[in-house]
Symmetry: C2
Subunit: 481 residues, 2 copies
């Protein structure tokens, strides 16, 4: 499909424009006609399929099942939990008409599905025998975003999974919240190669309707934080609003404790931002739709057949060890053109095979992450390529981890805090008195919010960064997407 | 989850009520708050996951990729192809508001995605190098159904796949249409065990905007036909409406030829209808979420541990050969209660293990399809169970095939035609002059439509069943869902 040429700006110089060019030119997305919507082209969707496959396996192993609930939610359902309604109603798409009939009650396109799912839970749950309920759905959700939309990162429709569980006790719900958070961390760090800081949200940043929210926060190259996923303990807020009760073993009627948790196609945006370079995407091997591209190199027509034959042999060898490889045998493009295209698309490994390589029983291999080239013996190719993919996977995480470390600044002084935000960005580790009013003022004055209160408790090293009173928590501030 | 007891009506006596009870009581679905919407509970969704997995593999092997396009379609897009708009607009859910802003242009929730997808194709396709485009999406679609809604069969929202391809020539598009139709047939006959008649739709029954429509038609136990899937050649109708042109190898600009094709969660409803019996569901082994349920039988507490241990051993043995099995070790229910529940849920095979079986190194095995019981030696269990599942799969198809054959009646006389429709239902094979007005009158007078003009040409055996003039086609009439 008609791709334009390479990226024309540097990531370090104009990050926003760089991002836009990369996601469009690498063929990940295209803009939709409705504000903030995108088409997930096959290349992006394949990445999503990988992410879905990996996480789906994790949650199923942990006893969860998938289900699917209606897209359309009556307005009255959304209103049942007041905080939740307030949180979501400004961005709801409303259906008011079906054919040419005007509807009696407005219907929301789900911005998230708590209210519709819990309507069903209240019908399905009767006894302790029905608990826990451990359901998840992979679906689309819509939120009318007007400003600062950005493919993957903030769109009016996105794809996600939303898990919704119901338990007999708070302790069980607590455990579920943490179990999922750990699975998210495994997915994001081990598969997407993006290190995160895990912890709780402050009261003012928690999910609308939750008891508490846990989060995974990453830092992007422009110094802004990105929320990668959240896992919430909803307490009994929704079970009281939706009347979800069960008869416990002791014969008493009780409200269930609930959790919900989600990750979305936003993760693809994070992968683009964190790993990409001036040439385009760099995809972690574990989620790359194509892990290895084999490019035949020949100058005369007569060489073509021989080189292609060898390419196919190598392809088969790699397929056998389950490497996702392709041969780019298009005649209408030069090798150089192909190199550029596959670099733009972030394929982790490129193999070049020419007549001389065939004679020497070798291939030339180029890594996308650091452009290193090595020559590999044909006979040990499969083993070495697997090692190489593993090494790229590790290197990407290491690089991102180093960057994250550099982007965490500990600060006691509010003026310096503001200076850091302007000049360096990233997370500012600071002490806080736990008063929401300090948090609010900081947000108003600097645009930075408390992204996460880490689980890993750190020693309080100063008074509250804002009011100077005694501090209660060490927290991470940042400006965020 | 609080399941009520068994089915209280006979399939042969009150088919509609039987169907409703089965889909609700087996835990497949629950009704949503918005007219015609349903929740796909985990048991139904697992069946859908199986269907998706099977078909997804088929189309990927045939070179297709998945993508995802926006849910919301501007009204102006829908209007671009006049026939298409006329066909779908009466059932469109319209979004007119976002938050509290009134939208400038109404947005349709996709009833199907031709118009939004082809908007993108017109941007992406420039040259013959960009062809063919072979994309598919798995998604939800919504159509406001007011009357005769029925879980799976006709709902206001359903899940489906819609393939959308673009080709340089009509011949290529013709081939694609048939390739997909064959994959559908393989899926439906070999996996869902439902025999179908394949062929073309008549002009008046084809897809709104298509050049021609091919279809797979099955017969349900109440004698009504069910359209299982369709594969359409769209010709150049949409490429002209959406200006999808390419420069061909000869340097000339041409409109692309397009196809689209879909199957939906309706297939689950067909499985329920065709195979189920008075005890509930009967699931074909290849798509059953649980293929084997192992029920421990013990009367004294002391036996429990020993029996459960053996059950787990058998479970592991079955898991090793990739049989989807579970042990129902719930203490709060009796074996008899469990038998009923798993029969209701249509699990193909039940294994019973008691103390005496352990002593004799055997297990008791019951088939869901015909209630036959056999005793199997423990050591050959895995092999025999695999054979048994295969045999059940075949038997279900054979039974359905026999039923289909019985429900096809050849008829020359219009009065008898009407009588058959009333008394027996099913397909009526009749000769037709190919004049749409005869087709229309038959529909008005009897409610029967031409479901399919089979590819397998049959000899014309009479004049037109309606007008008595010379017949041109042998076609299959039926009343349909």
């Amino acid at each position: 499909m008609a791709e334009e040429k390479g990226i024309t700006v540097k990531k370090s110089e104009n990050f926003s424009e760089w991002y836009t060019q990369v996601v469009l030119k690498s063929g990940l997305v295209d803009y939709g006609p409705v504000q903030g919507t995108i088409a997930f082209r096959e290349y992006a969707y394949e990445i999503w399929e990988k992410i879905r496959e990996i996480f789906d396996k994790m949650i199923k192993k942990a006893g969860h099942k998938n289900a699917y609930f209606p897209l359309l939610i009556p307005e009255s359902f959304l209103k049942k939990e007041a905080e939740h309604f307030k949180g979501f109603v400004p961005e709801v798409f409303w259906v008011t008409q079906a054919g040419d009939r005007k509807l009696g009650e407005k219907l929301a396109i789900r911005p998230t599905s708590e209210t519709i799912i819990y309507h069903f839970y209240s019908k399905w749950i009767r006894s302790w025998r029905d608990l826990p309920i451990l359901l998840n759905q992979w679906c689309n959700v819509a939120r009318a975003e007007i400003k600062s939309t950005k493919p993957f990162i903030r769109t009016s429709e996105f794809l996600w999974q939303e898990g919704h569980t119901a338990h007999a006790t708070k302790e069980e719900a607590d455990k579920e919240v943490m179990k999922i958070l750990k699975l998210y961390q495994e997915l994001i760090e081990n598969y997407l190669c993006i290190p995160v800081i895990v912890g709780k949200k402050s009261e003012s940043e928690k999910f609308a309707g939750a008891l508490y929210t846990t989060t995974l926060e990453a830092i992007m190259p422009d110094g802004k934080a990105l929320q990668m996923g959240t896992s919430h303990n909803l307490g009994q807020n929704f079970s009281k609003a939706f009347d979800i009760k069960f008869v416990d073993k002791d014969g008493k009627e009780k409200y269930v404790w609930q959790t919900c948790w989600g990750i979305s196609t936003r993760l693809i945006g994070a992968v683009v931002m964190v790993h990409g370079d001036d040439k385009g995407l760099i995809l972690p091997p574990k989620i790359a739709p194509i892990q290895v591209v084999i490019v035949p190199i020949y100058y005369k027509k007569v060489e073509r057949k021989k080189v292609l034959k060898k390419c196919k042999e190598v392809l088969e060898k790699l397929n056998k060890v389950e490497v996702r490889a392709i041969v780019d045998d298009r005649e209408e493009y030069t090798p150089g053109w192909k190199f550029n295209e596959w670099e733009l698309k972030g394929v982790p490994v490129r193999i070049e095979i020419g007549i001389k390589d065939i004679e020497k029983k070798q291939v030339v291999v180029a890594r996308r992450d650091n452009f290193e080239k090595v020559i590999l013996k044909e006979k040990e190719l499969d083993k070495k390529i697997l090692q190489l993919l593993e090494s790229i996977q590790k290197n990407l995480f290491k690089r991102a981890k180093k960057f994250l470390r550099e982007k965490i600044t500990e600060e006691k002084d509010y003026n310096k805090f503001k200076e850091i935000l302007e000049k360096k960005g990233g997370f500012i580790k600071a002490c806080w008195c736990a008063d929401p009013s300090c948090e609010k003022k900081i947000k108003e004055e600097t645009g930075a919010t408390i992204r996460v209160i880490p689980f890993k408790k750190e020693k309080i090293f100063s008074n509250c960064i804002y009011c100077g009173k005694e501090a209660k928590e060490v927290v991470y501030f940042a400006r965020a997407y």
